[in-house]
Amino acid sequence: MTTLSFFTDGGGMHAWAIATAAMVAAGCALVGTLLVVRRMSLVGDAISHAVLPGIVVAVLAGGRLGGPLVLVGAVAAALLTVWLTQLLRSEGGLSEDAGAGVAFTTLFAVGVVIVTAAASRIDLDPACVLHGLLELVPFDTVPILGVEVPRAFLTATVVFVTLALTAIATWKLQVFTAFDPGAARAAGVPVAAVTTGLLVATALATVAGFEAVGAILVVAMLVVPAATAELLTRRLHRIAVLAILLGVVAAAIGYLAAWRWNTTAAGMIAVVLGMQYLACVLLSPDDGLVARLCNRGWFAWRVACEDRLAAWWRAEEAVARGDTFPSAEGPTLGDRVADVWLAITGRVSRGPRGWTLSGRGREQADMVVRSHRLWESWLGRHAELPLDHLHPPAEWIEHHLGAEVRRRIEAEVGTQASDPHGRTIPPEP
């Protein structure tokens, strides 16, 4: 089987399934972005469970999956969950998660009992509830302009386009409400209506995904792409676009992987979403774990090198002053490695006693020692610390001060040429 025929065989069966999953993922990711930034991820979780009885009752009443009656039923069930949670909180004193825990598990249980009890009279597979039947989506089609289009794809497209247009039209309100609901309310934004709109949107995105991925795995499509995108950027509209792209990519990869390993597409899509998230947790450029570890390691290495430069500078100063060569502590392994690196980069060279600073090394060492001694002078003047307490903070901050800060400290402590210990402060190189 060639690659192309995989997508075109059987009236483009796989292509339609992937397109449906991608459309569902796009709608969910868009809604999920707002849920995640508004700290309502668990509301998404609750709603995705709780739409089940709404869908089931609507189907029993003669609705079709993806039809208007089912959409209405799902939205009603979603609003019922949120209303119940709030009622349990205000009237029963339950914490929000306990209230949601009671409301959505109960509604989901109602849905499952009806599905299994009325299994003979209902056109709804119980397996659909748990992991959807993306594989069967291409077989339930309606003709559009002579092309047989899967019904689920149509529903998902209509829902996504509606959600996208609404989101674009109300974007400023959404951003305002998400980041400062108090100010938004004061400025006359109908915050409650915006929130209810988001709940309705969540229900619509969930019900569009119900057939394809089931009621539970839709949570992955809602929350994971947005949380992943949030690790990569901080602008809300970029998060939304990125989340949609991530969702679409995961839908395609997940479907193909599920086909390759003969398992459920919905589960595999959730797994791919999880892998995307994990990859970003590790590799995100600003605050991925790898980037942070590298930064930390790079900084530790710079500190080690600068400390060695300063050590050789002080050794030369001691010799020039006629003191004995300071050898209180032998160099550690890290010190030796740093010395070798300094030699390789031409900042020190072999001298009579260990290493001697070269021109460039001396320049850098001047800056480090200068930072150190200026800071000691400043502390000695302003912090009223005893002399033997000046060294440790200076040892830490000498790696952080820039030329401008050094200049201003010098202006502050005066251009005296010695630090509180009476040692010379080297001039700015």
Partner: protein, 293 residues
């Protein structure tokens, strides 16, 4: 024990069904008791992440041993549930993802992985693999006597551990900063309580399934809380509520085998909660309504 010939059709319940019913009732009772501290500590949904993640361990344990022994599967489920909680803590510490999103991510991705594994096993027709799906919504009909005794024993052990540490658990549930200030190891106690919840979630799997088992540790405690302000009374009531719900679920699904046990247990618990919510003497809706008038 044999029943007299005349009434046999009425009581056509086998010895096994009775033992299973008692075992599952013990699980319901234990889950109700253990769940109290999750609810009091306002961490009702922590168990949900662990519950959804158990499916991965169950499937992996089946793949590793090739058999469907309940103890092995449950140990696998327990380990993957704990792993999920560990991942949750790591995400909280190492990333800027918010707590609620982290919970939803762990819950949905681990459930997706579990579903993928279970479906893969089913599709390959590995013998015994088809039965794994009963861990999704719970089905007690397949339990053996030995399984039921195991479930009851684990539940009893968990409750015993909780009762032994009742004083400390109560202290951190109501005033954790005081407990921390006076030198109690609050973090360790928290992990201990969460681990107990994970244990109950796992032994609750055969009864309620991965999707709904969290209701066993949430709804009975919340219902019991409506009736009392005292911890021991709440534990007792919650245990009784859990026990009654579990018995109802087992009984109905024994009569109508098509119905999964889990949703029935949850519905029974929800009914008890509704009654408590409306009719409890002090905090109930009806009592407050009358006081206000």
């Amino acid at each position: 024990m044999t029943a007299p010939a005349g009434i046999e059709p009425l009581f056509a319940i086998s010895h096994n069904t009775l033992v299973v019913a008692c075992g599952v009732a013990a699980v319901g009772c234990g889950a109700g008791v253990i769940g109290c501290f999750g609810v009091l500590r306002k961490r009702a949904l922590v168990g949900d992440a662990a519950a959804h993640a158990t499916l991965v361990g169950v499937a992996l344990a089946f793949l590793a041993t090739g058999r469907r022994d309940l103890p092995v599967l449950l140990v696998g489920g327990f380990l993957s549930g704990l792993a999920a909680l560990g991942v949750l803590v790591l995400l909280r510490v190492c990333t800027r993802t918010r707590d609620d999103a982290a919970t939803a991510i762990v819950l949905s991705v681990s459930f997706g992985l579990g579903i993928t594994l279970v479906s893969g096993i089913t599709a390959r027709g590995i013998p015994g693999g088809a039965g794994l799906e009963q861990f999704l919504l719970g089905h007690t009909a397949a339990l053996t006597t030995a399984d039921a005794i195991l479930l009851a024993a684990v539940s009893a052990a968990a409750v015993l551990l909780l009762v032994l540490s009742l004083k400390e658990a109560t202290l951190i549930a109501f005033d954790s900063s005081f407990a921390a200030a006076t030198g109690w190891p609050v973090a360790i106690m928290d992990y201990f309580l969460v681990a107990l919840v994970a244990v109950m979630v796992v032994v609750g799997l055969p009864a309620a399934g991965a999707v709904l088992v969290t209701a066993l540790v949430v709804i009975p405690p919340v219902a019991a809380r409506q009736w009392t302000d005292r911890v021991p009374t709440m534990l007792l009531l919650s245990g009784v509520f859990g026990l009654a719900s579990a018995l109802f679920g087992v009984a109905v699904s024994a009569v109508v085998p098509r119905l999964a046990t889990g949703p029935l247990v949850v519905l029974a618990a929800a009914f008890i909660f509704a009654v408590s919510f409306v009719g409890a003497p002090e905090r109930g809706w009806w009592a407050r309504h009358r006081r206000e008038r």
